[in-house]
Amino acid sequence: MNGQIFTIEALIAMLLLASSFILISALKQETSSVIYDYVLVSDMFEVVEKQYHFGLMDSCGSGALSSEITDLLDFIADQTGRQMFIGCDKLDIPSSCEPYLKIVRMTIYGESGEIVWRRVNIGICR
């Protein structure tokens, strides 16, 4: 074709380049929000381990969230708009919650301040 100024290969290459730009910009936005959510979950671990370890141990043992942990989760949901969950031992993640971010840590503090090795999941519902 005499009138052709760009080859089909060049056009395909340009389209691929454009699609990669779209993908990168989408990934960037996703990364930004996830970093803040990681910080939120990390803070939750700190607070639960330091202030709510009795309530957490009760909840893990009984399988039902204690009232103080429930109040904490409600307060955070109210202030941040993020519904968080806690899972450990007998305490399951609620069926109404579809986790999109979950971090697992192995320590909580026992009643006399000793470290109890327990697998605790804290995360954010979708």
Partner: protein
């Protein structure tokens, strides 16, 4: 009669634009739109990076406050995410938060029963970005949210 028809066909085939020229224009237009899209995409990426930089500065500032400056301590141990009211007051009275290159920093500490404390640095701009940190305040049994905002 037959000569007239063949003459008309010949005229029609000659046309004003050739097929190749039309195809070239279409490809050229698509390339131009693609190039403008890519430029817009690069601009968006640059803006996103600038916003990300501010967000990361806020994250670092909030981390410093929650884990060191405002944190309660005893016997050399620092308790991150446990805030001490006295530390907050002493840090804010002597600290220069502008060293974090964030303008219009505002700090709000909100508990279940309402605000516990707020601080706003000198500046008239609007709060653009905020990060919320879950904390407990030493001496209070309730949780609190430290909201760090800046632009």
């Amino acid at each position: 009669m037959a000569n007239d028809i063949s003459r008309d066909r010949a005229r029609g085939a000659r046309g004003f634009f050739s097929f190749d020229a039309v195809l070239a224009v279409i490809i050229l237009l698509s390339m131009v739109s693609l190039a403008s899209f890519m430029i817009r995409s690069i601009e968006d990426s640059a803006n996103t990076l600038a916003i990300r930089e501010k967000q990361m500065r806020l994250l670092v500032l909030s981390d410093v406050l929650v884990r060191r400056e405002f944190a309660a301590s005893s016997n050399g141990n620092v308790y991150s995410n446990v805030l001490d009211s006295d530390s907050i007051q002493s840090v804010l009275s002597g600290s220069n938060l502008s060293e974090y290159l964030i303008s219009d920093i505002s700090l709000d500490l909100v508990g279940p029963n309402g605000p516990l404390f707020n601080h706003k640095s000198i500046g008239s701009g609007t709060e653009s970005y905020c990060i919320r940190r879950i904390v407990v305040v030493k001496g209070y049994s309730s949780p609190a949210i430290l909201k760090v905002c800046g632009s």
